[in-house]
Symmetry: C2
Subunit: 617 residues, 2 copies
Amino acid sequence: MKEYFVVDVKPFNKKIPARKGEDILSTLIKGKIFITSSCGGKGVCGRCKIKILKGDFYSEPTGKLSDEEKRNNIYLACRTTILGNIEIKILPETIIPEKVEEKLFEKGEEFEHIKYNVKEFFSFKPLIKKVFLRLPRPDFKDNLSDYERLIRELKKFENKEFNIDIWNLRKLPNILRTSFWEITVSYVDEGKISEIINIEPGDTSRKNYGIAVDVGTTTISASLIDLNKGERIKTEITFNKQASFGDDIISRIVFAEKKDGLEKLHHVVTETINELILNLSQKHGISLNDITSVVISGNMTMVHLLLKINPSFLRKEPYIPVANIFPLFKCAEVGIRINPNGILSIIPGGFPYVGGDITSGIIVSGIYKEEELSLFVDIGTNGEIVIGNKDFLTCCAASAGPCFEGSGVKNGVRAVKGAIEKVKIENGNVYYETIGNEKPVGICGSGYIELLSELFRNGIINRNGVFVIENEKIKEVDGIKEFLIYEDKNEKIVITQADIENLIRAKGAIYSAISTILKTLGIDKNDIKKFYIAGGFGSHLNIEKAIEIGLFPDLPIDRFKFLGNTSLLGAEGYLLSDEFRNLSKEIIKKLTYIDLSRSPIYMEEYLKALFIPHTDL
Amino acid sequence: MKEYFVVDVKPFNKKIPARKGEDILSTLIKGKIFITSSCGGKGVCGRCKIKILKGDFYSEPTGKLSDEEKRNNIYLACRTTILGNIEIKILPETIIPEKVEEKLFEKGEEFEHIKYNVKEFFSFKPLIKKVFLRLPRPDFKDNLSDYERLIRELKKFENKEFNIDIWNLRKLPNILRTSFWEITVSYVDEGKISEIINIEPGDTSRKNYGIAVDVGTTTISASLIDLNKGERIKTEITFNKQASFGDDIISRIVFAEKKDGLEKLHHVVTETINELILNLSQKHGISLNDITSVVISGNMTMVHLLLKINPSFLRKEPYIPVANIFPLFKCAEVGIRINPNGILSIIPGGFPYVGGDITSGIIVSGIYKEEELSLFVDIGTNGEIVIGNKDFLTCCAASAGPCFEGSGVKNGVRAVKGAIEKVKIENGNVYYETIGNEKPVGICGSGYIELLSELFRNGIINRNGVFVIENEKIKEVDGIKEFLIYEDKNEKIVITQADIENLIRAKGAIYSAISTILKTLGIDKNDIKKFYIAGGFGSHLNIEKAIEIGLFPDLPIDRFKFLGNTSLLGAEGYLLSDEFRNLSKEIIKKLTYIDLSRSPIYMEEYLKALFIPHTDL
C-alpha cells in the first residue's frame, strides 16, 4: 500500500500531499510552487535549495552544499525524499517569480519595441478577419440553407472557399434567428480554404483581438493586439515556469523524456501563457471570447513542448524537428484558453536550433532585403546568429545559458525596476544606477556586462575572471569569493566567482559563435555594416563595455543597433500582415545552417573566447 | 430535497433509479430500455403500454386503454409518474427490437441490393486512401523535418496539398522511428486539401475500411465496406431507437425542442449506429481503428439529429435546413466510434423533406441520365417521389408513417425470417407464406399489401377498409375488430381495423403524392416509362396487389423495378466513388421541389386516395 504524507511549505503555508519516497522538487511542482533547478532534477546544478524545518526525510550526500548551508538544514529538493510529514521553507532566491514585469513597457521610449509598428513596414492584413453580415431573411423563394446563406454573403467580402466546424454549425440556426439575421463572423483570412472561427449575434466586428507570444526558454512575453487597428494594446512578460525543469533546452528535452515529463512541461508552459492572456484581457476589459488567435514565436524546443510533441529527436543526430512549417491548430487542442474555436499559429522555423523566433528576427531586422552585409544576434538562453543580406542568409546557434536574463547568477534579475543596469568602479568605490532609480533589487544582464568590464579595468579580476586582489568588498563565503555591490540591513547584492565564470562562458559562447560563422564563410568582421542586437538587453546595454569584455567583436559603435524582443515583434507581425506570413515561409527556405557542434573550428574559437576580452585581438 | 426510487423492470430484472414524479417512459429510456411511443410521450398514440406489478404511482386517466387492459394493470408509460419504488413489466409487443436482422442480406439473391456493385457504374476512387510509404531516413544532408518528409513522399502518390491535425503530428516522431521509417498513411482523397486521417507503423494499407449508413426514421442499416476492393463485406439492419420518441420526423422534431430532447435523440441514434459498427467489425475481425470513414445517407431531420443540430426550423416556415452540402466532420465530434481521427461525411440533400437519402436514390436509379421519363419512389416512414429524366428532376415528400416498415401496426415486423410476406384468402381460408418458410412471427410490409388486397377482393372489407362481414376469423377485442391470420397456443397474428386504417392512410399518402406531382407538372401517368421502387419492400412486393389497393398508379407491370435500399447503396457509392460524390452535389442543384402542404390540389388528391384502390379510376 502506498503511504501519503503532507509537505507543509513555508512561507506560503501550502500543504501538498506526497507519496512516501517522492522527492521534494517533484512535490513542489505538483503543488505549483516553482523553484529554480537548472539541471531539471538531476542533482548536478545544486540550485534547488530548500530549508527543512522538521520532519522525516532522507537526503543524498552532495558536494553542492556549503558547510554553513548544511549547518542551517539546507538541502537540495531534488535529492531529498519524503519519509513522513515534513515542514520546509522556500528560500527567496530560488523561487521563480510570477508576472514580475507587467509594467516593463511603460518605460516606453527606452524600448525600440514600443516604437515598432508592423503596419509601417508590411501590408496590413490580420490573420483573423471579422465581418458584420446582414443576411437576407429566407422565404419560400429564397430558401437556401443557413450555412449556404452565410457563405453566399461572406463571398461578397472574400471570394474564396470557406469551411465550418461542427461547433459553429450547431450554433448557426439559433444565432441567425435570435439575432434577426444580423451576425458577425470571424474567419482565418489565409490559405486556400478559410476556416470560420466564430459566429456571434449582432455586430461585434470592432472586437477583434489576437495574442502574439514569444515563448523563450527563460521568459515568456505576450502582446494583446487589436487586429482591426493593427495596434499593440499592451505587452506583459513573465518567467517561463519550465525553469523548474532545467535552465536550457537540452535539460528540458531530457526532462521531457522522463515519465510524464512532456506532459508536465507542456502543462506549465500553457498555464504560463494562459495567465498572461487572462491578465492582459482582464486589465483591458476584453473578453477571452473576443480573442480568436494566438501566434507563437519561439525556438523549436519550446514549440515542441508547447504542442506536447516529443522533442527528443531535436537533441539526437541528425537533429530533426517534427515540422518546419506547422499547420494551424485550435488553441483548445493545445490547452490555450481564448475563444473555444480560436486558432493557434506557429511561426515557421528553419532548423532545430534556429526556430521561428529567429525567422521573426530576420524579418523584423530587415537583413533579408539589405544590400550590405548585416549580422543579427539574438541573445537569450540560446544565442542565435544570422549573417547575410538580400542574397544569402546563414545562421548558427550557441547555448549562452540564462545569466544575461538574470537567471543562474546569484543576484540576477531581469530588467525590472530596481535592477542595477549601470556600474562604475573608481578608487575602490562602486557606483551604480538602477532602473527607475529605485532601491536595488539585483543585477540585470546589462549591469553584469558593465560590472565585468569594471572589475577587469580596475584589476580586481584578471583575464580569466579570477579575483586577484583582496579588499573589504571581497569576502569568501563557503569557499567562494564574492564582490559586494550593495548592502543594507537585510540583504546584500554581490557577484560571486561562480557568477563570473558563468558570465564568461555565456559571452564566450556568443563571441565564438560569431567568430566561427565569420571564419567559416570567410568574411572579415569589418565587412559587417550593421550589427543588430535582439533579446532582453534592450538599449540598456553599453556596447563599448560589451566589446571590452569580448561579448561582441570590435566594430565601430555606430554599426550596432538594438532591436529589442524581435521574437515578440515577429509574432505581432505574423498576426497582422500576410506579407509577413508569406515572408516567413520564404525566409526559412533561403536560410542555411552551420552546426557549431560539427564545426572543425568552433571548440578552438570557444576556448579562445573564455578570456576577457578574448585572445582574438 | 429530491426523492429517488427504484423502478424494477421485468422481465429484464433491470433496476433503474428514478426521481419522484418522473414518468416511466423517461425512466425506461434513461435505463436504455426502448419501447414504442409513436407520439414521443404526448399521451396521444397509446402505444407505450406497460404492466405495473406493484408499487406507488399516479397514472392520468386515458381513453387509450381498453377495459380489459385496465383490469390487467396496463398503463401508458408516458402518462404514469413514479411516487415510490415500483415494479413493472414490459409487454413484448412494445419493445423495439435490437439487431433483429443481421442475417437479412444472407438471403442474397432476393435483394437487388446485394447485386449492386458501385464499381460497375461509377469510377472507383474511395473517400479514404491508404498508402504505404518508405521514407528515406534523415541524415545531415537530407535533414527535412518529419512532417515535411512525410509530405514529400505523399506527393509522389498525389500531388496536392495535405493537412495534418495535432493528434497525428504528436504521434509522428515516434511512429516514424519505431517503424524504421515505414509507415502507412490514410488521407481523405477529396477536396483541395487532403486531410491526413491516420498514421500507422508498417504496412497496413490493405486494412482500409469504411462504413456506409442509411439512417432512416424507423430503421438504420449499415454496410461494412472494404475500401481497397470496393466491396461490401456485410450489411446489418436494426431499428432506430429514436422510435421511443415518436414515429415520424415531425414528432421527433417536436421532441427535440423539449429540454434535453435533442441531446437524447442524438444520443440514441449515435448509439444505434455505434452498435451496428461494433457488431460488423467484431464479426469480421476488423479493428475499429482500421475503419476511418463513415458516410451517412438520411433525411434532413435524421441528419440534424445525428449531428446534434437544432432541427426546429425544418418544421417552421419557410422550412430551412442548417445546410444542404455539409462539410466533413470528425466522427469523434459527433460521437461515432471508429478510428479516433475518422471522418464523417454526409450525402448532400436538396430540400428539408427530400434529403441525402433521395440524392442517393436519384443517382442509384440512374433517372438523372435517362432520356425517358422515370419516376422514383422511396417508401419508408416518409415517402419521397422524384420524377424526371436527364433534363429535369422534380420531387415531393409525403409522410406515410412506419406501417410498411412493420411498425405502428399490431403484428407488424420487418422483412425478417418468419415474416408473412404472401397472403391468399380463398373460401374463407387464409393461406400465407413466410420468409424462409419459418414459423410466422408477424406481417411485413409486402404481406400487409397482399392481405389488404385479399381482404378487399373477398369482400371482407369494403372500399373504406371497414370489416363488412362476420365470421369466426373476425373478433372484436376491446371494441376493435380484428381478423385472425395465424394462431397457436401462445400467440396469434391478426390485422385490426386500426391497422387497416393506418395502412390506407399510408398508401393514400404515397398515391396522392404521385398524382399531385403528375398533375402539377401536367404529365400523364402513361408517360412514365420506368417506375423505380426503393425502400424496405424489396422484391417481396406484389406489384399487382399494390396497384389493386391503390398504392401505385395503374401502369404495365414491366415498367416497375425494385431497387432495394437505395439510400444505403448511395452511401456505399459515396464512399467508393468520386464520380458519385461529385454527382451528388450536381443533382441537388438540378432538383426542384413541390411542397405538397402548399399545393392547391394535394388535399383533394389525398382524400380521393383514402379508398381501395382510390376514386381516380
